[in-house]
Subunit: 455 residues, 2 copies
């Protein structure tokens, strides 16, 4: 019996029309990255497990795809661990490699490994797949593509401003209007935790805060109470939920409230410096979001997250922030980092929903040449070579099927032009060219056909 | 203690200069594929094990990277199989997915799965990584990139000719001279096996023949004797090693010898038809190679293999052939296929050795803007946005380090232009532009700077 043709859940095949759309988006992102001086690197799909494990929390370790050791090596399986239910230990005994889980940890590993081959400040971009054994749902896949730009080895509000401008330039180039860049600063969160007399409970605090959207202020208060914050603390917190106006005025209000917290003031000052550069750039939609915390262990300064236009129900389509010392775990200390990331797959869903893909992407071939028999094709072959050399994309129908069948094919692949070369044309030394959109026909001398004829 | 920053054996990081070279080659290949009407598809890195297993022979199954099942599923480990040394069975009990081993089997699976969404004859190309747990050596990696173009659903010597022309066009576009396309035909091999009274031993026969290069005619004879071919058979085989002249005359000699073998005559006739088209194309170096057998189980018609120029010691840089019914295992019968493949990694090694990468690839950024303090940068920021919008790639040095350090950076990243905007320039409303190659300087009004200035 034949095997069923199918692929693992959460993975996808991309047909030509989809590849064209994805390439369009990655080309736009790549072009913008390069305009900001980022250079491309690539890292292997497989990393050593020791490189990845423990870098993404327990959930990350659990969702990582592990690669089974080859050949005899599986004999080293730790069966005691399996029996004891120590599945992580069992896995380690038969697996030394795992699939890339994001692009940031491999980049940190890369920077340390190649520190003598790269020039700091190092601006790199990377557009590659990552894999997570997550439950698939809308906008979430087990194999998906991240587009990351990071700069390591420098601290400067100019870089932060450039990152935000870069988000904006990419959306502009994609004609995507209405995306909002939300920002926050880790030092402000630390200042607030301190202000609430809970500097050691900053994680619990930000986890609760992060849920404001979903559970409202009362929900956040309840969760904080549950985590040992007392009423006095919650009373102090309350006004922080009532900031109004644009980013600048919200920062002013925040400064008044947190005037006694040096950490928070530093974060506010830093955001102001960044905004100073941004006012000369022209970032369209920016909002300050005190609840934005994103993987707090990881980020140390500014934090970004990009929400799609409100009309599209979808999680963030971009994110980033400043992280310091991510390379320390691999032995290189004090390397400051800042990065942003676009989620290609979600971005494509958003563009699709808003009908923003250019119509020209559909045109993957310029001309279908119909086939009236090898004798005619022999005449055409030297010209085909010449025309292809001019950059014309030609699909030559391979056999002399009935005209109707060939025309049907040309229609189905959405060829804008069809070329005929049969008996009549051979007599005259011409090709007949049909404009499939307009239904018009013209005759062109064999030696005169060129790109101009199909414009 | 810090973890060592390293990657699994047989895998590679690619630094910006290497990515630029690899992108150059894939861009050339992609452009040429599209000129022949091939359309891009992509398939997941992970396939179901059942899709891949048993398709590449025992070696393939052994060299496949298997992905461990996630979470609780590893509890289903078949420990009896492990104890019995049935490692394949043990692996199957804890792994349901494997990494793509080539692009052809996933493509066959794709064609069956999407048969109602694609239009036959379907010309697809695919440029993606594949993974094999092979012993790494020069030109052989555990993660490498294949560039495949296949057409399914048609039989036509024109397509075969186009494939060869496509090899040639790619090499032309890469300025690679001296690659040789070697061809053979499966029906000729079948005819010879029959001519030697050993139609059932065609595999042993071709395996021996394939070694002619390494062990010479005597070695081949010995191996065949060992496999039960008698002296009469070997005497009949001998003249086949002595074909001389170009492809056409070799085919003529072969026809005389194998005049009694219908299979062989059919193969010869088919090669002649293909060559008929090729004579109008202009394929540079073509050779008939009776010893070429490449995965015989798989190919059913013409077989291609491309050798690099003689000056480079390296295995084949391209290959392909006609295969029929590869989709049958997934339930779709009688789908004829023909494909060629370029090995990106080997091609890059060959181009590197022959110094064929364009010098312009080194230029990954156009301008480094030196940083004399935020006050100056505030002036520049709106112009930076404008210039980047013009497509100029600008790396803005992030902090006001000493001039020497900044110039060193610009040198190291091989920036062709460096821009200064300090006190003097601010007074005059200009930027100073240094041509790093020629060491010359010029002043340009802020509003006049454009792409022209850096050409």
């Amino acid at each position: 019996m034949a095997q069923k043709a199918s692929i693992p859940k959460g993975t996808r095949d991309f047909l030509p029309a989809e590849v064209a759309k994805r390439s369009y988006v990655t080309d736009v992102i790549r072009t913008q990255f390069e305009r900001y001086g980022f250079l491309p690197i690539q890292t292997p799909a497989m990393e050593k497990s020791s490189t990845l494990k423990g870098k993404y929390g327990d959930e990350g370790d659990r969702l990582m795809f592990n690669i089974l050791n080859s050949g005899e090596k599986v004999k080293k399986a730790d069966l005691d661990a399996l029996e004891d239910g120590a599945l992580g230990q069992f896995t380690s005994s038969i697996s030394e490699k795992a699939l890339r889980y994001d692009l940031t940890v491999p980049f940190a590993r890369f920077v340390v490994q190649h520190q003598n081959e790269i020039n700091f400040p190092f601006k790199r971009y990377q557009i590659q797949s990552v894999w997570r054994a997550d439950r698939p749902q809308r906008g979430r896949f087990q194999e998906f593509t991240q587009c990351d730009a990071d700069v390591v080895g420098a601290v400067s509000p100019l870089l932060e401003a450039e990152c935000m401008q870069l988000f904006d330039d990419v959306f502009d180039a994609l004609s995507l209007k209405g995306a909002t860049i939300r920002i926050n600063h880790r030092a402000i969160l630390a200042g607030i935790a301190n202000y609430l007399d809970a500097p050691d409970r900053i994680v619990a605090f930000t986890v609760a805060l992060d849920k404001l959207d979903k559970i409202g202020p009362e929900g956040v208060f309840n969760e904080l109470r549950h985590n040992g914050f007392d009423d006095a603390a919650l009373k102090r917190l309350s006004p922080l939920f009532d900031l109004t106006g644009d980013v600048v005025s919200q920062l002013n209000q925040l400064e008044e409230i947190l005037i006694s917290q040096p950490d928070a003031l530093e974060g506010i000052a830093h955001l102001r410096q960044t905004l100073g550069f941004l006012s000369s750039f022209k970032v369209s939609q920016l909002s300050f979001d005190l609840t934005l915390a994103r993987g707090l262990h990881y980020y140390t300064g500014i934090i970004f997250e990009v929400a799609p236009p409100e009309s599209v129900a979808m999680g963030s389509i971009g994110a980033g922030g400043r992280y310091d010392d991510l390379t320390a775990v691999f032995g290189l200390k004090d390397v400051h980092g800042l990065g942003i990331s676009f989620g290609l797959d979600r971005l494509c869903i958003v563009l699709e929903e808003l009908n923003l893909f250019p119509a020209t992407l559909k045109q993957a071939v310029d001309v279908v040449v119909l086939h009236f028999g090898d004798a005619y094709m022999h005449d055409l072959v030297p010209f085909l070579a010449k025309w292809r050399n001019m950059g014309i994309r030609i699909n030559c129908y391979p056999t002399a099927h009935k005209l109707k069948k060939q025309m049907q094919f040309a229609n189905q692949i959405q060829a804008p032009w069809v070329m005929f070369y049969g008996n009549d044309e051979q007599q005259k030394g011409v090709v007949s060219l049909k404009n499939m959109g307009e239904g018009t026909n013209s005759e062109i001398k064999l030696e005169d056909f060129s790109k101009k004829c199909i414009n």
